[in-house]
Symmetry: C2
Subunit: 371 residues, 2 copies
């Protein structure tokens, strides 16, 4: 742990809090790092649920709450409690790092009382470099996500095209049905789909984050982007494939080939010490060289991002990123091309950065056409 004083207030819905205590806690509580020690100040409803091996001292919050309520201060009980804790742990007047989502009313009040709060992002920079345990968690999460893709591919393979509709087991195949089948299987593996998956069709695919709905159309791009989280570990995985059921147009085939080339070119160059910007630029060059665009249409988003307890975390692989890849980063490489007339193509793999090279954790076939 760093020498900085650190304070988080929240539940483990906050991924920094989750990282700190490594177990789900649904009520808001205070987490402190100060003078080389770690504390969790917990309400009775959550007391004693933090794993012992983390060397975090669990402190019952309720006696403090009682004391704090008596303070004659014009603010909420919650802010009084924060003030009481800052005083009690000698944090007033000393630099204290807080996450950028620390409650603003609490920060305002503490500052009025003399607290020196420094918003820090990333709050735990070490989150970008995954431990062996974290790599195992992410691999496990990704293994289940790949299974969901196999289910989708199977359904598409077994479906039949009739009069510009796709039928599966004699029903019109929809985005909703595919999501449901993928999700049922994920749930059985202890995964949960926190943010909703993307299974978009035809023109929908031209909007990268369109979640998709309605009948899946034949001969048109189907973008599947699934990013569920493992319930037990809390770690995300993130993966995208684009398919066409039937016969894609030559334009779509060429676009797909360009995206695949751009992705391969980027992945090949990954190793510790390379800048994220360099990897982005390699991709962008392939896109441009193949006659596609960057900006308002074509390749319109970043190349990738770290994945862990957040679906988007450090490092960031954008045009203006200042991040340098490090051994133990797990990043997505997800180039895409989007044109409102044609639709979109995106391919996304998860890559572990190693000292001299990389490991493609996804390692799942890429085939546009499902006949």
């Amino acid at each position: 742990m760093s020498n900085m004083n650190k304070v988080i207030f929240g539940s483990t819905k906050d991924s920094d809090m989750h990282y700190a205590v490594k177990t789900p806690v649904t009520s808001s509580f205070f987490y402190l790092e100060t003078r080389g020690k770690k504390y969790a100040l917990l309400d009775k409803v959550d007391f004693s649920i933090i794993p012992k091996n983390l060397r975090i001292k669990s402190v019952p919050l309720n006696p403090f709450s009682e004391e704090a309520k008596k303070l004659r201060l014009k603010t909420s009980d919650r802010n009084k409690l924060a003030y009481y804790i800052f005083k009690r742990y000698g944090l007033m007047g000393r630099k204290v790092q807080i996450p950028i989502h620390f409650p603003l009313d609490m920060a305002d009040f503490l500052r009025r009382k003399g607290a020196k709060l420094v918003p820090a992002f990333p709050f735990f920079p070490e989150r970008a470099v995954k431990t062996k345990e974290e790599i195992r968690y992410i691999k496990e999460s990704l293994a289940h996500t790949k299974m969901a893709f196999r289910i989708i591919e199977n359904i598409l393979r077994r479906s039949r095209i009739r009069k510009n509709k796709i039928y599966y087991q004699n029903k019109i195949l929809t985005s909703e049905f595919l999501k449901q089948e993928a999700e049922k299987a994920l749930i059985e593996k202890g995964m949960f789909d926190l943010l909703g998956m993307i299974i978009s069709t035809e023109k929908q695919t031209a909007i990268p984050h369109h979640i998709g709905f309605g009948p899946i159309l034949p001969h048109q791009p189907i973008v599947c982007d699934i990013f569920p989280r493992h319930r037990a570990s809390g770690y995300f995985s993130d993966m995208t494939r684009t398919y066409v059921k039937g016969r894609p147009s030559p334009e779509i085939q060429t676009m797909y080939a360009a995206v695949l080339r751009a992705q391969n070119a980027a992945i090949k160059k990954i190793r510790s010490g390379v800048s994220a910007k360099e990897i982005y630029d390699i991709t962008a060059n392939v896109i441009l060289k193949n006659g596609y665009h960057i900006g308002d249409y074509g390749f319109i988003h970043g190349l990738g991002h770290g994945v862990g307890l957040d679906i988007h975390e450090k490092p960031s692989l954008k045009a203006n990123s200042e991040d340098i890849l490090e051994t133990g980063n797990i990043i997505t490489i997800e180039p895409g091309l989007y044109y409102s007339r044609l639709g979109g193509i995106r391919l996304e793999d998860m890559i572990l950065v190693t000292k001299t090279s990389f490991q493609n954790l996804t390692n799942h076939p890429k085939k546009l056409v499902i006949p």
Copy 2:
């Protein structure tokens, strides 16, 4: 909408943002209310996904980002963009409400530049009073949750006790299995379990938020607290039942009866205009009159909370609440008793506050013993 200027920055993971735009948006964006107009400043990846009928003007963010990057300011591109938008929409120097989870580094920067930011909680106070549409969404969410309870009850009923273990289909019945079965059924109904459900057994039940794990023990309390969210609408439901498979001790039976009495006494008094504190006090009195405790053991948590796009929202039914119940509030009434030696009992229903009375939306049997 109110006359206040309001700004949110975030994705619809932020429930206030979800409330504002009523559709999932996974990337962070700016939402503005100013001079009687509403704006969503959206990245290309999310553009045009906000429903038209909300009368929110969708504005492409990318041209602003390009302009903002050129500003010679020592801060992140994101903060530059926020500053650019505040200037462009005439928000500098005027009072602007922001949610308490507004990014602190952004708030700090904007304030240094002269922004008058006022953290507001609740940010949209009107969220506490549900519209007809919201009531429908919550009823739908709750209907599916009740189905999950019926599944759990069925499994418990069909299970057999042998040598202090419970067997279902010849396997030892576990918390994990019950959660999986409940969740599979919820998923099929378009529900998702965002925060993890509680199915705890024996001593685990003495910690109200213990999520539970391992074999379910006979003759001991089983606390089931399920609070999933409907994927399509985003609305939560929240419900708790406590069971004993086998023969509960007389102490547990008496505790259950007291919790049920406390709950009924509270529910009976609900109507618009009554203070939340009064309802809490009624419950607390029943608990005390029955010889149980309030504070460190016994009834150790609040009585209930509003439910909507957040699992916990206004109004709050705690000992020190200043909230007054209003027609259209949907609240939980969930008294509980917890003793480390005996375990815990909790019962939770969702109640719609009406002008002269209440409506129990949960309306699901309460029976401790499953033989």
